[in-house]
């Protein structure tokens, strides 16, 4: 079974990793702006609508316990279709990781440094991502637990500091946007970032949880939701809808306004730290999934041995993916149409096949 070494990831680590993955670069670039001040409602709606889809992801794993995600694909669909499906998922994880990678180094180059060498930072970030993957799941798991604690503490600090900067009138009138706009916004938030958790399925499949993968996925979503809603609300209450529409990094811009007593400023640097760390986690997971998929196709027992060239491929795709940050944010509008295959159609077909085979085996009295 081609799974990421070393060992497995514990339940709590998996839940933390799912939450971190959902934060990813979403916290940095914020949720989509079509719903403007009602984005927080779209986040709640998207999370609720994602529950049945995450349950479907978990059910696929539950029907084939203690098997890797790509092993499940090959078992259910055979070698030919299994290879095609695996390649599609590998492509999706590479592209998603590349977009995250691009947004990260565009953020570092554009916001924090003055005219740095353009390619140097991606290379350094890639090395860190490769280290996370080469270290194995245990490293990734421990990293995710400590990072989630840090993020919650930071969220608490910024919540306290932002109390005097918020203006409740920025939220009014609530539900000003039409039903169509809210539906589009909700769909966009579902596809980015909630349903990108499909990329985590190879990692979640290694968790020892007595087949209760659904609870792991849902608890990860539950852990991420409060922070997502809080960040969206805070950005809206501090910046207001017009300013949120024009800035690329609303979280960073909102926190720039915070200070303690007028003497302790630049708190946005701590926010940029956690943005970088969450993005790195997402990139590492995407890279791991891609390496895992390629390793399964080529029957390589240790996927981390192929992680480095996959990282180089991810880096190259990140250069070609979009022209600039503006185009990346524009692309998010088309994201639901593009990702429906990877996030919905392939998992749905897998689930239906798994249920059908499970029932057939039960009728025949065979072990599943």
């Amino acid at each position: 079974m081609a799974v990421l070494a070393t060992k497995q990831i514990t339940r709590h680590q998996a839940i933390s990793l799912i939450a971190l993955f959902i934060f990813g670069n979403n916290v940095m670039i914020g949720v989509n702006s079509i719903t403007g001040k009602d984005s927080w409602l779209a986040v709640i709606g998207a999370a609720i609508l994602c529950i049945p889809i995450l349950m479907m992801y978990g059910r696929i794993l539950s029907l084939n316990p203690e098997q890797g995600f790509f092993d499940i694909i090959f078992k259910l669909w055979g070698k030919a279709f299994g290879t095609v499906a695996t390649l599609l998922m590998v492509w999706f994880s590479l592209h998603s990781g590349a977009l995250t990678f691009r947004s990260l180094y565009e953020f570092i180059i554009g916001n924090t440094l003055t005219d740095p060498p353009y390619l140097l930072f991606p290379m350094i970030l890639l090395l860190i991502g490769l280290y996370l993957i080469r270290g194995g799941l245990s490293v990734l798991g421990k990293w995710s637990v400590s990072l989630v604690v840090y993020i919650f503490l930071l969220a608490l600090l910024t919540a306290i500091l932002s109390l005097k900067m918020i203006d409740p009138e920025y939220l009014q009138p609530v539900l000003r946007h039409s039903v169509k706009d809210m539906a589009i916004g909700t769909t966009q938030i579902m596809s980015f970032p909630f349903l990108e958790t499909v990329i985590l399925l190879p990692i979640v499949s290694t968790v020892k949880c007595d087949g209760r993968y659904i609870s792991v996925l849902l608890k990860g979503l539950l852990l991420a939701m409060p922070i997502m809603i809080y960040v969206t609300l805070r950005n809206t209450l501090i910046l207001g809808e017009p300013l949120m529409d024009i800035v690329y990094y609303p979280t960073f811009t909102a926190v720039q306004t915070l200070h303690i007593g007028g003497f302790l400023t630049r708190i946005e640097e701590s926010i940029s730290t956690y943005m970088i760390l969450t993005c790195l986690t997402k990139i590492a997971v995407c890279l791991g999934m891609a390496a895992n998929g390629v390793a399964r196709i080529s029957s390589l027992p240790e996927p981390e041995k192929i992680a480095a060239p996959m990282g180089l491929l991810l880096f190259a795709i990140s250069l070609l993916a979009v022209r600039n940050m503006g185009e990346l944010i524009m692309f998010i509008k088309y994201y639901p149409m593009y990702t429906v295959t990877f996030q919905l159609l392939i998992p749905l077909a897998l689930w239906l096949t798994a249920e059908w085979k499970n029932r057939r085996q039960k009728k025949a009295g065979l072990p599943s």
């Binding site: 290379m123 041995k305 480095a308 190259a316 070609l320 993916a321 022209r323 692309f331």
Partner: protein, 69 residues
């Protein structure tokens, strides 16, 4: 100058990641490793050669015609 650093980066990856584990990885997987690395290099060359207006997101949007309007 940046592209010189990029080539050095590729060489560092090859030397420190590819070479030490060559025997344990097996010949077929060595070929796979080098193929993937070569693909990434070709993509970077494509990035340098193509005009800035052509990017992956542009191509994907062309395949989603009902979005274009």
């Amino acid at each position: 100058m940046e592209y010189v650093v990029l080539i050095v980066f590729y060489l560092v990856i090859l030397i420190f990641d590819f070479m030490p584990e060559r025997k344990s990885r097996g010949r077929t997987n060595d070929i796979l490793y080098l193929t993937v690395a070569l693909c990434s290099l070709l993509l970077i060359i494509l990035f340098l050669a193509l005009p800035e207006s052509f990017r992956l997101s542009t191509a994907l949007r062309m395949f989603l015609p009902y979005i274009q309007s």
